[in-house]
């Protein structure tokens, strides 16, 4: 499967659940991050049936997902259908 994103790409997480897949934590919905790791399509037959879209680990500044302003980061695994690329004018 063609991968939509590569390491370093800025992305936004969807606010609403696009497919019903429940495992995208609420605190990152609608938030902006950067692709940190690319995993591609993973089979995990013990965990779920069928094949999911490619998986990425997205890096968020802590201050983007929390009220804490430490210069730290939160890395969350997110499937591709949840992510959209940022438009150029939205990039900081």
């Amino acid at each position: 499967m063609e991968l939509k994103f590569k390491v370093g790409d800025p992305v936004t997480v969807a606010s609403e659940n696009p497919t019903g897949y429940p495992r995208t934590p609420r605190y990152i919905r609608g938030k902006r991050g950067v692709i940190g790791l690319v995993h591609g399509v993973l089979e995990n037959v013990r965990d779920h049936r069928g094949i999911h879209k490619p998986l990425y680990t997205v890096r968020f500044d802590l201050s983007e997902v929390s009220t804490c302003h430490d210069q730290d980061s939160i890395w969350v695994d997110v499937h591709e259908e949840w992510l959209s690329g940022l438009r150029a004018e939205e990039r900081n």
Partner: protein, 357 residues
């Protein structure tokens, strides 16, 4: 005091009995309400067993055909009784692992089913957990009574599985024996090798499970394994904010607090404050804290920094310095002097218990 790592309080004071009992209470309710009873409901819904099977199995139960053997405390002092409760809890969890393995196979269950069933995504389905009140003495009596009741349901469930032909007594006995085999904890073995063998470390960080196959360690099969390295610039921490994802197939069970809501919410809101408050861990200002929130397909553990004063130590000695907390990022690997002190107090890290699927 002996006892598995999971019973230790946040800060590891070994004579803080209250903290030990709290850990037993928390873990016991977790395993009942999240790992065992939702699974019974799943199997009842699908007709694998029925309520009547369970009732009939209870009626037919005799001391002579009992699968789980009763235990007795070794001594009357508080330490002996705390240890007794801890060991009983471990047996209960092993019992769940035993029946889970069979049920999962028989029903073609996947973890996702279990998460739905136990209400990870929908509070409507959540099993209520018991609250614990009273003096320490009262709580110890209560938790002992709970263990007896919960164990009895497990016993009855095993009997019903046998009666319905989902398993045989012999098969279960063999598996039960395997669950009690002691082996060196893979976490310590893996980290010690990574500290001493740069080529292995490189392979571990870049290929995860593949590297474990080469070193002959059980490599598990739950999701992709990613190992993140602590350095003088980065301190990594692992959490699963949705449930309790963890490479348990390699490392065994997590400490109880990993599954607790307070850790799961606070660590992503204010990581430094959480590490400080729960584990007295002060991460230097010059290091970036990276928190990895696992959502099941990837399982993470932290490669801690090698402690100072360990030059020339063998892999076997180094493995003893590796704590479960240090692989989650809630602590550092022990320095040799700390490890000696812990040994003296009888608080040295032990292998985590097996964790049910």
């Amino acid at each position: 005091m002996s006892g598995k790592h999971g019973h230790k309080p946040f800060e590891g004071h070994m004579h803080d009995f209250e903290a030990h009992i709290r850990a037993v209470e928390e873990d016991l309710e977790y395993y009942r309400a999240k790992r065992f009873e939702p699974r019974i409901f799943y199997l009842i819904r699908r007709g694998v067993v029925t309520f009547s099977d369970l009732l009939n199995a209870r009626v037919a139960l005799k001391r002579s055909n009992q699968f789980f053997k009763p235990r007795k405390p070794q001594g009357k002092n508080i330490e002996a009784r705390v240890r007794y409760l801890e060991e009983w809890l471990d047996e209960y969890v092993k019992g769940i692992a035993l029946v889970s393995a069979r049920a999962v196979e028989a029903m073609d269950m996947v973890t996702e089913d279990n998460r739905k069933e136990r209400g990870d995504y929908d509070d409507f389905f959540k099993f209520k957990k018991k609250e614990h009140k009273g003096t320490l003495k009262e709580r110890m009596v209560n938790v002992g009574r709970d263990l007896k009741d919960y164990q009895e349901l497990l016993e009855v469930f095993v009997q019903a599985l046998i009666k319905r032909g989902w398993s045989t007594r012999r098969e279960l006995e063999q598996h039960w024996k395997q669950l009690h085999e002691e082996r060196p904890w893979a976490g310590g073995v893996i980290v010690a090798k990574a500290w001493t063998d740069p080529a292995f470390k490189q392979a571990l960080l870049s290929t995860g499970r593949e590297a474990l196959r080469e070193m002959g360690v059980h490599q598990g099969k739950v999701g992709k394994l990613v190992v993140v390295e602590n350095t003088d610039k980065v301190h990594n921490v692992v959490v699963c904010t949705l449930c309790s994802c963890y490479p348990y197939d390699i490392l065994g069970d997590t400490p109880w607090w990993y599954k607790h809501e307070s850790y799961r919410t606070k660590i992503v809101q204010n990581p430094r404050a959480c590490l400080q408050a729960m584990f007295q861990l002060e991460v230097p200002a010059g290091k970036e804290v990276k928190v990895y929130d696992s959502t099941s397909d990837v399982r993470y553990f932290v490669l801690p920094e090698r402690p100072s004063g360990t030059e020339g130590m063998s892999e076997e000695e180094l493995a003893k310095l590796v704590t479960v907390d240090s692989l989650i990022g809630a602590g550092y690997a022990l320095e040799p002097s700390q490890q000696k002190k812990a040994m003296k107090l009888g608080a040295a890290p032990e292998s985590p218990r097996v964790r049910p699927d």
